[in-house]
Amino acid sequence: MKNTDDEFFIGWSPMPPNTRITLMKSLWILFFIVIVTAVAGSALQRTIGTASFEYETVRDFEGYFHKDPVPMLVVDRSGQSGHENPRSRYLLVHPFKFGFSKNSASQLNGQFISLRGKLIYRGQDTMIEVIPESVKPVLRSVEPQSDTPTPFMDLGEVSLCGEIVDSKCYFGVMNPGDWKPHRACAIRCISGGIPAVLHVKMSTGQSRVYILASANGESIQQAILPHVAIPVEISGQLRMLGDLSILFIHPESISPLCSAAASVNRIEPKEP
């Protein structure tokens, strides 16, 4: 670029003509760059899913509380039409980055309770952010079926590739709530007791979520923290609890995957 004229711009005097032309051209180019980067940066995002958090709506729920393998509310739908499954299972968590309190979970286990909370859902996966003070045992004269825990359906040993995320953010509180940008947050959530799940992208392109539970009854939350939000392979015992898929694991069985083949399921579990 050569200076071909003797124009000299001074902020406090009128702008010379050629300088003005270059400036106008530069501004048009800049606005073009602004629009291209804004459109590309927004339209090419791939991690935002169809997950929701009803943060403005508090609902009432009633059902049986089960603390294992993760705290959940089992709501009987057998009398209602439009529900394929007679029981809906909502995972339960507390506000912010905390899981359902362990103490209350032990006390409430197996009881019929009422609670208030906000719904979080991603596809079939549902969760309630419980208002802790709203949880109350309810006395019922006729015991419905849900208090008898549904037996697990054992699907055998599987090896899955995917990403460990915290269920609360991934189910909808943060959308997108996975991979590296969300790693620190997922680590805090899982460390705070929110159930960890393995998010697997099936070869069909669909996503599936496996709740991670301990194979030996000891808490796995801290042991899995180093493996959160990176591509991993996990082996464990796959069991179905209603429509929930639960993978019982030993944290030592988690191995990092170095290939981008992450989130591609190696051995697809049989459909129940």
């Binding site: 200076n3 000299f8 702008m15 800049l30 339209a43 912010f96 997108p176 709530g177 996975d178 990092p256």
Partner: protein, 338 residues
């Protein structure tokens, strides 16, 4: 100095500059949020804002970094440089909004102090666990220091060399942010075009700096003969200096601007007292050396700004023999006119 001297023209251009700057910023934010909400209506609002502010700040940083070398390559780009410090402050505001929202969203409300969480939570061994947020924090600290000291008050009080060194930290901030984005967002958002944008941005920023740096240091900026003869050095040929303009020569690492005007030649330090602008790329206007960046003026004979202004730049003695300009190896302190 020109602040009060030329108040009307100065502030009109400045206002227009700021208006266009913020129009551009708002346009980016509206397009980014609009397209995201249209295509992904379930996106979480905080994360949408985090992404919009972060991306806007990163783009603005690229623009800021390109303006300097562009203005050096061609003086028609000088108006872009005129109010660049407001761009810097706007960049800091966007970056602060992005950083603060990220900090609250991803670190607050957990089982660890959010300040500690910011530093330790995403760190771990191996490339896939390489932390990225801490690099954003370091860049934000630099941008804060630069924005907080951008006023001329700090330039005077911190002394020009210190201020300049501190403002060079913007390159460290840029490097930190490339790491922040490459090891952060780009690990999740893997579309090749986005990676290409970040890579392309780096190529443009580095390319422009290399080309303008090469131009400044090319051989004809060296004195003709660096031997001292009675304290004088052969600098350049009179014929090589354009009328009312300067030629810049490097003497012992110091840049000296040698101006030709009204059949006379003078030599002054190349560094403007305002914000270290390159005086040698300026012009003699109304008999004064006028800085290309914001129009500060100095009298060529004395190096002092015309009254009532008080800035002074070092000047060098000049001797002309056989059409060759010789300048003193050491500067004189500028003499006051008044």
């Amino acid at each position: 100095m020109s602040v009060t001297y030329h108040a009307v023209g100065w502030s009109t251009f400045k206002k227009r500059y700021d208006l266009i700057l913020w129009l551009g910023i708002v346009l980016f934010l509206v397009v980014f949020c609009g397209v995201s909400l249209f295509l992904f209506p379930k996106v979480t609002l905080e994360i949408l804002l985090i992404r919009a502010f972060g991306s806007a700040a990163f783009l603005l940083l690229h623009i800021i970094l390109c303006i300097g070398p562009l203005a050096r390559l061609h003086r028609h780009f000088l108006p872009l440089l005129y109010n660049r410090r407001h761009m810097g402050v706007s960049l800091f505001i966007l970056a602060l909004l992005h950083g603060f929202l990220s900090w609250i969203t991803y670190h607050a409300g957990g089982d660890l102090n959010p300040f500690v969480s910011l530093i330790v939570s995403d760190a771990g061994p191996g490339i896939s666990r390489f932390p990225f947020q801490i690099f954003g924090v370091m860049a934000l600290v630099i941008l804060f220091l630069m924005a907080a000291t951008s006023h001329d008050f700090w330039l005077v009080n911190l002394t020009a060399p210190f201020w300049k060194a501190m403002h060079m930290l913007v390159y460290a901030a840029y490097a930190f942010l490339v790491v922040h984005v490459v090891f952060g967002a780009l690990q999740a958002e893997t579309h090749g075009f986005l990676t290409g944008l970040v890579g392309g941005g780096m190529v443009v920023v580095l390319g422009l700096h290399l080309v303008s740096g090469w131009r400044e240091h090319k051989p004809d900026n060296q004195p003709l003969d660096s031997r001292l003869d009675q304290g004088f050095i052969e600098a350049c040929r009179v014929a090589d200096i354009p009328e009312n303009r300067a030629r810049i020569v490097s003497i012992a690492g110091e840049r000296v601007a040698i101006f030709k005007y009204d059949g006379k030649v003078c030599a002054v330090s190349n560094v403007c007292q305002h914000q270290n602008g390159p005086l040698g790329e300026g012009k003699i206007v109304h008999g004064c050396i006028t800085c290309p960046w914001h129009g500060y003026q100095y009298l060529p004979e004395t190096g002092a700004s015309p009254p009532p202004f008080v800035e002074k730049i070092p000047i060098f003695k000049v001797k002309i023999q056989n059409g060759i300009v010789h300048i003193s190896a050491l500067p004189e302190i500028a003499r006051d006119l008044c």
